[in-house]
Symmetry: C2
Subunit: 185 residues, 2 copies
């Protein structure tokens, strides 16, 4: 591996359509290997957050919702998009409250992964929430329908290792969480 | 949780622009909770594959390439898109050969995750490749520039648990692989 690889060069870019979740951008990139120029696509969008919220009994909150991409009901961690100008830590608190009705007294940042580094510029930030209590009913968007469930940490780990969580962002957050607790080592 | 939740209903759909990697589709979905209709976006695209290839010395092949979404050089597993009509297992062999120059005598399917179930219909399939040997030079697309490196299984696991692989699909494949080998349990 070279210490200082030659860099890709962006010769120009242009914005494409806005697609609800994304602003499409086209980058014309020059390959340092062969000087070939190719039009690449980048979906500009906001970062998102995933929250691993522990109940006082040591169970973890999961949300069950219909995912339009795959057309199926999936169990995942609570979370969602960071609003423009919002700090990820604030978004994590807001999303936990909105999706589940719960608030937490203790928050821990667990790191981040790229949303999809191939064609997205966004990152996913992971948080643990402890000392949680139910403050009230969830406040769902009109386009959401979310059911709440809980799972023990042992079952959570077993399901993660069996690849039973289809959403890669839930997988990344659970990996960071279960490593931080010492359950994975 | 209800055993038979009321289902989301698609009242109509329309195709949007084709964006190099994706065919955009808009689905108008009716929320069973409140009958609210909302326009959702689905990016139709092909499945992809990730390959965990073990050298005879027990090291794992990684590829280092520039990722246009985040604008950075990343280390990831070899892999890529399944061609139309191609079986994922065939795509895994093809991508390993093209990106790294290696072929393998033994292949194991490690399962799949959704690419991003929120707005993509595609899945990512994970494979382990053993008994590998270098058949020749990589055959890269004109728009690719890939450097090959190797890492021990111990270092691979340590880096995974430290969230040092930014690509969620690499994370999912490594989790499946290290579980299958008994390194994660």
């Amino acid at each position: 591996m070279e210490d200082r690889p030659p860099h890709w060069f962006r010769s120009r870019f242009a914005y494409g359509p806005h697609l609800k979740l994304f602003q499409v951008r086209f980058d014309w990139m020059v390959n340092p290997r062969n000087n070939h120029e190719e039009k690449m696509i980048v979906l500009e969008g906001g970062d998102s957050v995933q929250v691993v919220a522990e109940t006082v009994e040591g169970e973890i909150l999961l949300v069950r919702q219909y995912r339009f991409g795959v057309g199926a009901l999936l169990e995942e961690l609570p979370g969602g998009l960071v609003d423009p100008g919002e700090a990820p830590a604030v978004a994590a608190q807001r999303e936990l409250r909105e999706e589940t009705g719960y608030v937490a007294t203790e928050w821990q940042y667990l790191g981040k992964h790229a949303a999809n580094p191939v064609f997205m510029n966004a990152y996913v930030h992971h948080f643990a929430a402890r000392g949680i209590s139910r403050e009230g009913a969830p406040r769902l968007d009109k386009g959401e329908d979310v059911k709440l469930t809980t799972v023990s940490r042992e079952a959570l780990k077993a399901r993660l290792l069996r690849s039973e969580f289809p959403h890669p962002h839930t997988v990344c957050a659970l990996l960071a969480y279960l490593t931080s607790t010492g359950d994975l080592k």
